[in-house]
Amino acid sequence: MSLLEANNIVSGYGRVDILHQVSMKFGADEIVTIIGPNGAGKSTFFKTVMGYLSPTDGSILLADEEVTYLPPDQKVKKGLGYVPQLDNVFPSLTVRENLEMGGYSMDKEQVKEGLNYAYQKFPVLKEKKGDKVKTLSGGQRQMLAMVRALMTNPLIILMDEPSAGLAPKIADEVFGLIERIHVEEGIGVVIVEQDAHRSLSMSDRGYVLAMGQNQFSGSAHKILHDDKIREAYLGG
């Protein structure tokens, strides 16, 4: 059963539509990767699902409830987690404060529990809890960004290019972390990714988006081994 559904979404910036009737479904028990060339509308899709952009047509359902026009903070409260691309931490806040912001809508006790849980699972964050984010390495930053999103208690997390700007070895670690979060926390994960091979190889399913339209969807294995898609979108 799908937890998050986007049906026939038409959306864009101002009067320019980027997405034309895009439909996708995501479950809590899967990792799904959305691939597509630059400008295909992948980030626009995430921004629309999150509520930063309002769709001009179509609907968005979260746990069978219509949330199409809810603003981001309301969607987050209903269980939609989001890790934006690159600018995904609060640089002038400490590691602890970043996590506290993730738990903003919770009461004090819940935040405390969340922090303890995060520190226990990710000891590096405990070591660095009093440090400003500026002192973290690229991989640690990405970890903090994800754990901040986890603090919002999501049912499903959208991750926009988690490996952007990271060295291949660090990117591997980040993908390992995503898998771990999915398995250990039982949270659905949707990834938009440039490094499509790496991301698809750990995904259950995938969508191909091009020119703002659904081009293909199927099992990740199928996408990875489909000659046409490989040639067109995965660099051969």
Binding site: M50, Y52, P71, P72, D73, Q74, V76, K77, G81, Y82, V83, P84, D87, N88, V89, F90, P91, S92, L93, E97, E100, M101, G102, Y104, S105, R148, A149, T152
Partner: protein, 304 residues
């Protein structure tokens, strides 16, 4: 003038400007526009305090607190009725700025209507000034320094040790991510107005107590307050305090300098003592601002 006296005068001026510049810089940081009505509300609040104190006979400290709270509430109401609606329509920064200019003119003339254009004095007891290390300082001035210091500490604690302060810093860092953390930005912005105007009223009242209270007070201090905020690095509240203190010292040091020896060309001419009139204070603010920005365009604590 004694050095200790210059230091005392500079600290007082710096303290007053700080409390005013903090709010200006916060609004710029969070909402992205310069609020030209900021100092007008400071003067308006000072008038409210004056009314509570001298007309209703309420204790001075309590009057200032009441005036600060009331003006803060007006800030929230104006955000709800005007700025929030404009934000929802993606109004341009320039539009916002021009609206604040109009708002400033309106509030100044409302003050004029209620309290007339005549200058007012806070009723202060006349007491012998104290002498500290050669500097003369009145009990009122000591009170001003004390309250300014407490206000600054309270502001720091607010920013770093309350949920509101942390959320405000988070919004300042990254608005989109703040929304993805379920931070209620609209509510935070309203409280920010409250804090900005409350602090402005404390600063404005201090100026009025030390000098005079009149409807144009807000307009007369807008230049040094803007200079302090920009000097310290616009958007950074600590920068605003540093900028205000820098300006306070610069003004008082330059005013106290005797340019006589410089123009007598080593005693060739007898020009007596030459000092700048205090009327040049705004010019000094600008000079310092230009010099600092030439060296560091983002201001003292500003980041690129």
């Amino acid at each position: 003038m004694e050095i200790s006296q210059i230091i005392v005068n500079s600290l007082i001026r710096g303290a007053e400007l700080s409390l005013l510049a903090i709010g200006l810089t916060m609004v710029y940081d969070i909402l992205g526009f310069a609020n030209f009505a900021h100092t007008e509300f400071a003067a308006f609040g000072a008038f409210l305090g004056f009314t509570f104190n001298s007309l209703l006979g309420i204790n001075l400290l309590l009057s200032v607190v009441l005036a600060a709270l009331l003006t803060g509430l007006i800030g929230i109401l104006l955000d709800l009725s005007i700025f929030e609606k404009l934000r929802a329509r993606n109004a341009k920064t320039l539009t916002m700025m021009i609206i604040t200019m109009g708002m400033g003119i309106a509030i100044r003339n409302i003050s004029r209507l209620i309290w007339t254009s005549s200058t007012k004095n806070f009723p202060m007891p006349l007491l012998q000034p104290l002498k500290i290390l050669g500097a003369r300082i009145t009990r009122v001035q000591l009170g001003i320094l004390f309250i300014a210091a407490i206000s600054m500490v309270a502001f720091h604690l607010l920013l770093h040790h309350t949920k509101f302060g942390k959320a405000l810093r988070a919004i300042s860092d990254n608005k989109e991510l703040a929304r993805a953390s379920a931070i209620d930005s609209a509510k935070m912005v309203q409280w920010m107005w409250f804090v900005a105007y409350s602090y402005a009223v404390i600063g404005g009242t201090m100026l009025a107590i030390e000098h005079l209270l009149y409807p144009r007070l807000g307009f007369d201090i807008i230049i040094p307050v803007f200079c302090a905020a920009i000097l310290g690095g616009i958007g950074n509240p600590y920068g605003a305090v540093l900028g205000a203190l820098t300006l306070g010292f610069a003004e008082n040091v330059i005013i106290s300098l005797d340019f006589g020896p410089l123009f007598s060309l080593g005693g060739l001419f007898d020009v007596g003592s030459l000092q700048l009139s205090t009327g040049y204070k705004p010019a000094i603010s600008f000079m310092i601002l230009i010099l600092v920005l030439l060296i560091k365009p983002t201001g003292i604590l500003g980041e690129n």
